[in-house]
């Protein structure tokens, strides 16, 4: 009998501690309604990353942006619907993910935080064919990864990567589902993770991986292809006439 009571008590303690941890964790962490990242090219190498996050501050009155790229330099930050105490962020961690934390004046009010970062060499990682293999030159690899570190997940996450002018996507290794389009003179890839029916768009510890190769449009190459194709066509038409006479 005593043994049974002991087991029941232990189980109750375990369940309570798990539940309490979750509640405490949720209170300590911000609640994200949306998290939108847009990479816009400044030139053929560098990008400007604009993050727009709609979130409810945590118990300590902090709102967060995730430092997914170490080399990114914060240029500007703005807050709507609330006031930032200081525009200089504090470096914190949620789980193992580095964050930039901004203290807000009213910790009860949601914030729409908009920050811009300079991301050097975002479009300039060379991806030419490996030695002893066939493949095009003048290609660059664009890769980015975002993992949701907050326990409550993110309701809507979107990532848009615009390419430098005259560049186009050659191949896509990841993700599996994406949209391609054009905005002005820039082609882009869009990954949209919208929540539906109570399910978060991006759950806790879920990742969005983007990995693709870009290439500059090449008018000279197109001219050469036309010359070669017309040359082949003419040669066959002229020298293959005997075939008709057979």
């Amino acid at each position: 009998m005593f043994k049974k009571i002991k087991v029941i008590l232990l189980m109750a303690i375990f369940i309570l501690s798990v539940a309490l941890t979750s509640v405490l964790y949720a209170a300590q962490n911000p609640d994200f309604k949306s998290y939108k990242e847009v990479f816009l090219p400044i030139n053929e190498k560098d990008a400007k990353l604009t993050i727009t996050a709609e979130e409810v501050p945590d118990a300590a009155g902090y709102v967060y942006l995730f430092s997914t790229i170490k080399e990114a330099k914060l240029e500007e930050v703005q807050a709507e619907e609330n006031v930032l105490v200081n525009n200089t962020p504090e470096k914190k961690k949620i789980g193992s993910v580095d964050c930039l934390a901004f203290k807000v004046l009213d910790k009860e009010r949601p914030v729409k935080l908009k920050a811009t970062f300079l991301v050097p060499d975002f479009y300039s990682i060379k991806n030419d064919a490996a030695e002893k293999s066939t493949g095009p030159g003048g290609t660059y690899r664009v890769s980015y990864s975002f993992t949701c570190p907050v326990a409550s997940g993110i309701e809507t996450y979107s990532l848009k990567i615009l390419l430098p002018e005259n560049y186009e996507i050659l191949t896509v290794a990841a993700p599996k589902s994406y949209e391609l389009g054009v905005e002005g003179k820039n082609r882009y890839m869009l990954v949209n993770m919208k929540g539906k029916e109570g399910k978060k768009g991006l759950g806790f510890a879920k990742s969005v991986e983007v990995d693709f190769v870009i290439k500059k449009e090449n008018v000279t190459k197109n001219i050469l292809i036309w010359i070669a194709s017309l040359g082949i066509a003419t040669t066959f038409l002229v020298f293959n006439r005997k075939q008709l006479a057979k």
Binding site: T134, A233, F236
Partner: protein
């Protein structure tokens, strides 16, 4: 009897074919340049655009026969790699795909059956019993192909099974590869019936099961095996009849009786006499029969392999096991010298399959299908026109897809979405669209059975394309008629 592996050489070309052949390379070159240098559509990658350019250029070469088909495949392999339509490792890796191994194994099995005389015995029996005329031979092969669809749940395995029988019946009628209309008919009808009979049986190919799963997930309606069978069988049977009749019209057989019969007054009697002269089955024939039966048994029982052996043997591995048995000492029946494998067509198959895979992997096929659906304002038209447009797209979407699975995954949700937007019962569109999943009969690389029968060398790409398109138009009209009659009676439409 020897396995015919000769290609289309030596055949007298018609004027139309001469012109096609003359213009093939110039047209292919211009098609390639035009597509490759055009601005990439915004929703497509450069890889996708390149894959489309290579596919269409090579398609022109296949159809025009301007260069031997294996050369067109080599061109495709080079172009795919140079244009980045698919990476070099993947393109070259196609030669290691199961379809190539399956074809090699099928030819080894056929060689073994021929060397031992078993194939001769089967062919003599088949022709003297059922194939007294060319038409009867065609009908009996169609029936055999349809019946085994219930036993062997794989289009590819069925094709490999039917290959030696079809080859030997063709030989019994003296059909020469590339020259004989009867040979063309046998081989193309075999691949057509293989695919069409599949559409009648839900479990005959995995993508059909996937389609039913998607219908259930997206509409909540569970299509049972019998519902599928009842709805699809009349359409499949009528399509097979159309295939048979259209075939006779396009490729009128040059023979009406087996070749031996032409040489004497009582040909069938002579065939029977020859069969009698063969005497009882030899030890070698019994061994070959055992290997053949073992192959059929393993293919037919793949669902229960784990229970029987504790592991599963794939379709291709069964074929390789059988091929190995033919070579093994003590058991074995043939040497490498006896093996006749058409390597030129293996190269063709690898290149053609690579082009198809590039279309799938680059997203070009999915883009093309979405672009077609997206460009049509289907919500504002009535049910019947909408039904006919959707079914037309569903049937002919196989032209850009090699993978039935990928096609199903894109097609069925899109069709259900259209039905919902138009406010009609999604089953009325999605189920008939699912009956078209196995309709990949127009080009060799569209599915494995096509490649297996193409590898016999009896027909060219243009023959298959032209015949296949007419049959599919017939099936489209049949599905249209079914929507007004049969599908209404059974409550689908």
């Amino acid at each position: 009897m020897n396995i015919p592996t000769a290609r289309m050489e030596g055949k007298e070309k018609t004027n139309f074919e001469k012109w096609l052949s003359y213009l093939g390379v110039p047209i292919a070159a211009i098609v390639f340049a035009l597509l490759f240098t055009m601005r990439t559509p915004t929703e497509l990658t450069l890889q996708g655009k390149s894959a489309i350019a290579v596919f269409l250029a090579v398609f022109v070469l296949w159809v025009s026969q301007a260069v031997p088909t294996f050369v067109s495949s080599l061109i495709a392999i080079v172009l795919l790699t140079l244009t980045s339509a698919w990476d070099e490792k993947s393109v070259l890796g196609v030669f290691g795909y199961d379809v190539i191994w399956l074809m090699i194994s099928a030819f080894i099995i056929t060689s073994g059956m021929t060397k031992t005389g078993l194939a001769n015995r089967v062919a003599l029996w088949l022709v003297s019993t059922f194939g007294k005329t060319a038409r009867l031979a065609l009908i009996s092969l169609i029936i055999v192909n349809f019946v085994i669809a219930f036993i062997v749940p794989s289009t590819t395995a069925r094709a490999a099974l039917m290959l030696p029988i079809a080859l030997l019946v063709a030989q019994a009628y003296g059909a020469q590869p590339g020259k004989s209309n009867f040979g063309k008919l046998i081989m193309i009808q075999e691949l057509q019936v293989n695919n069409i009979s599949t559409s009648a049986i839900l479990t005959a190919t995995a993508p059909q099961i996937m389609a039913v799963g998607l219908i259930k997930d997206l509409t909540g309606y569970n299509v049972s095996w019998s519902e599928w069978f009842i709805a699809s069988l009349p359409v499949a049977l009528c399509t097979m009849i159309i295939s048979y009749l259209v075939g006779l019209m396009i490729f009128e057989p040059e023979v009406s009786v087996p070749v031996m019969e032409d040489r004497g007054n009582d040909g069938i009697g002579k065939l029977k006499e020859q069969l009698r002269k063969m005497g009882p089955m030899t030890k070698e024939e019994k061994k070959a029969l055992f290997i053949f039966c073992l192959t059929v048994f393993l293919w037919a029982t793949d669902k229960w392999h784990v229970q029987m052996f504790g592991f599963k043997i794939s379709l291709v591995m069964v074929a390789i096991i059988s091929a190995t048995l033919f070579y093994l000492p003590f058991i074995g029946l043939i040497s490498w010298k006896d093996t006749k494998i058409p390597w030129d067509l293996m190269i063709f198959s690898a290149g053609a399959y690579a082009v198809g895979m590039a279309l799938d992997k680059s997203g070009a096929a999915a883009w093309a299908l979405k672009a077609v659906f997206g460009s049509l304002d289907l919500g504002k038209i009535g049910f019947f026109p909408l039904y006919m447009i959707v079914i037309f797209i569903a049937i002919f979407s196989h032209l850009v897809f090699t993978s039935k699975t990928v096609r199903t995954a894109i097609l069925i949700p899109a069709v259900i979405g259209i039905a919902n937007a138009a406010g009609i019962n999604p089953i009325a569109l999605a189920l008939p669209a699912s009956f078209t999943i196995a309709d990949s009969i127009t080009l060799p690389p569209h599915c494995k059975p096509n490649l297996i029968f193409y590898s016999t060398g009896y027909f060219n790409v243009l023959d298959q394309f032209f015949y296949g398109m007419i049959v599919l138009i017939g099936k489209w009209l049949l599905l249209g008629i079914a929507s007004l009659t049969w599908f209404k009676i059974i409550g689908i439409c």
